[in-house]
Symmetry: C2
Subunit: 136 residues, 2 copies
């Protein structure tokens, strides 16, 4: 992921590496505060501000994305798939990515009904992950 940052014209720095690694270490999503805590294992002086700014940068490059839970939307997760969505576990909060959503028929129906021209969408699923299912 750092490579993508560099080839986009941004510097390769320890701080960025720390944030990127922390993010990739938690594909299930993590808040800026947690990312900072994790990132400090790699680059100790890592500051909160840098985490925010790096996330912003990653988002603009399409490499990270917010995860929206119904309680809030402060968690971030790395984006690995071209057009992925997340499914979030109600039990432990982990998130998994999945590919493909095939919403075309729906989009056409909504356009016809509301008059909106729909260009993007955003889908998130909630449920229980395999571990939490077993645990019950």
């Amino acid at each position: 992921m750092l490579d993508s940052i560099c080839s986009a014209g941004f510097s390769h720095t320890r701080s960025r590496r720390a944030v990127v690694e922390a993010l990739c270490a938690t594909p299930s999503g993590a808040t800026p505060a947690k990312l900072r805590a994790r990132g400090r294992a790699i680059h100790t002086p890592l500051g909160t501000v840098t985490v925010y700014r790096t996330l912003e940068l990653l988002e603009s490059l399409g490499l990270a994305r917010r995860i929206h839970g119904e309680d809030g939307c402060t968690a971030w997760a790395p984006v690995s798939l071209a057009h992925g969505h997340h499914v979030i576990c109600r039990g432990c909060g982990r998130a998994a990515e999945f590919e493909g959503c095939d919403l075309e028929p729906l989009l056409r129906r909504v356009s016809a009904r509301t008059g909106f021209r729909v260009s993007e969408h955003w889908l998130e699923l909630f449920g229980l992950c395999p571990k939490c299912i077993q645990g019950k």
Copy 2:
């Protein structure tokens, strides 16, 4: 909507009416701060706290819901349909509700692929509303 609150066992108060009317006046969604501003036209001493608490109440009754935009998720909108989703205009920020989403095939596929047992979902569309399309 106030009726629903009352029949659920909560009091009919001016403050609640103010929040409910402000909310219904902005089906496109509004932040707590904006709802308070609008609500003050109805009940002047309306406080921020009451707006938050009323929204919480409405949410628990299934009458209001957060709208999650990619920039944040501080806006709230009334829920009028049984199982509605929102389509949000990138131009003016308005939201419209639509019904039905037929995600069953997708849910099955995701369950099979990730092992998650999916129980809820959450979908939001983005695009341009009829007015904004014309305006361009």
